[in-house]
Homo-oligomer: 218 residues x 2
DNA sequence: GTCTATAGCGAGATAGAC
DNA sequence: GTCTATCTCGCTATAGAC
């Protein structure tokens, strides 16, 4: 399982670089981050970044790829586990299998996962990166989820499933991006980093949306 | 010489600059866009940008502000119009009042509105801009919508309303960002710029979500 | 209002010593 | 593997001619 590993204070230099880059890319986006800033953040010499990862682009790709693999594994494992209990998988369990790994990532001690979630939101909503990186790294597992959804919602039009998946992806992105916007908006009533609460509301919200648009459950 | 060059179909120079900046910021984000690129895109001299708008930051603020005003007016007008028919306003009408102006903006001939929607998505999901710009320009009208939602869903906890509003905002952002991701994802079955279809599915999706999380309708 | 020219800075990348 | 040093480029911003 791709559980977030707690790291010792040091770590290898290349890992330090990836962590620092992840943190900065997540917050500022690709273009606002200079390799010099990454080097400073990682407390590493500038030239070392080039040595390990090549050009800036490749560093970004590597950062994005690193946890995408783990996230996909966790999601597919959750889906398989749900299927083992009940086949076809009930809608709510599918949504949970999709969202739960992110929630766990956010709740984990490894701050890197929180950063990665923000990075995911950035990439997902970017016209530049979105169609390229999301498709490259998440289309395979996504297809498995759409199949499961189709089985749970047999009356659904295929296109409607994709649209609803898309809405879920958007709600998830903004939520786990943890921008702090909802804190300001609600006057402190809601907290952007209160993932348990967010998760507990997002699941029924999304489930109800799928049911309404994609017809009755099996 | 320093004479205004004649241009067919061109507006004032400052408007040309704003349109060009909007288009580029929407697609590439703030940091990837250079003032030189804006000047090139607007077919205008670089120094003119500074003359009209000052520093790059201020140009960005101006671009963001320009249509925020209009969007807010349209939304509030739609809300008032719905209230004139029925008070309290039914949930679905509230959601429509919120989303419809964006859909109309997307469907309009003015390509600038499409760009602006993508810009909104960028700002909304950005940890840097989100809490600042969204709050500054959209919190007032947002409050009116939350009040209307509270009236339509009298059993709802206040915090739940904010969370659901947040999910709606996320789904909307990704959809109207028009990244093309869903095109790739669905293998061409859905089109990112088919806003009518997106809108027709997003409304029931969001309405059902609100109902499920925020209790039964009045 | 418009444009030329440039100051002043910091970026990405890499060659080569150790 | 690590770091020093540097090359080359393009950026923002602005002063000043027209």
């Amino acid at each position: 399982m791709g559980r977030p590993r707690s790291r010792d204070g040091g770590g290898n230099r290349d890992t330090l670089i990836l962590d620092a880059a992840e943190r900065l890319f997540a917050y500022h986006g690709y273009d606002a981050v200079t390799l010099r800033a990454v080097a400073r953040e990682a407390d590493v010499d500038l030239a070392l970044i080039g040595y390990y990862f090549g050009a800036k682009q490749k560093l970004f790709d590597t950062v994005f790829q690193r946890r995408a693999r783990i996230l996909n594994e966790d999601r597919l494992a959750a889906l398989a586990s749900a299927r083992a209990e009940c086949d076809p998988i009930p809608l709510e369990r599918i949504i949970e299998a999709y969202l739960r790994p992110l929630e766990m990532a956010q709740e984990s001690e490894d701050q890197g996962w929180r950063n990665y979630c923000a990075l995911l939101a950035y990439v997902n909503t970017s016209p530049v990166w979105g169609p390229v990186l999301m498709s490259r790294h998440f289309d395979g597992p996504m297809e498995a989820f759409v199949e499961a959804l189709a089985a749970a919602l047999p009356r659904a039009e295929r296109a409607d499933l994709y649209w609803c998946y898309h809405f879920m992806s958007g709600a998830m992105s903004l939520t786990f991006a943890n921008t702090g916007r909802i804190n300001v908006m609600s006057g402190g009533l809601c907290r952007s980093d209160d993932f348990q609460t967010a998760y507990d509301r997002m699941i029924p919200f999304v489930v109800a949306g799928f049911e309404r648009v994609c017809g009755p459950l099996k």
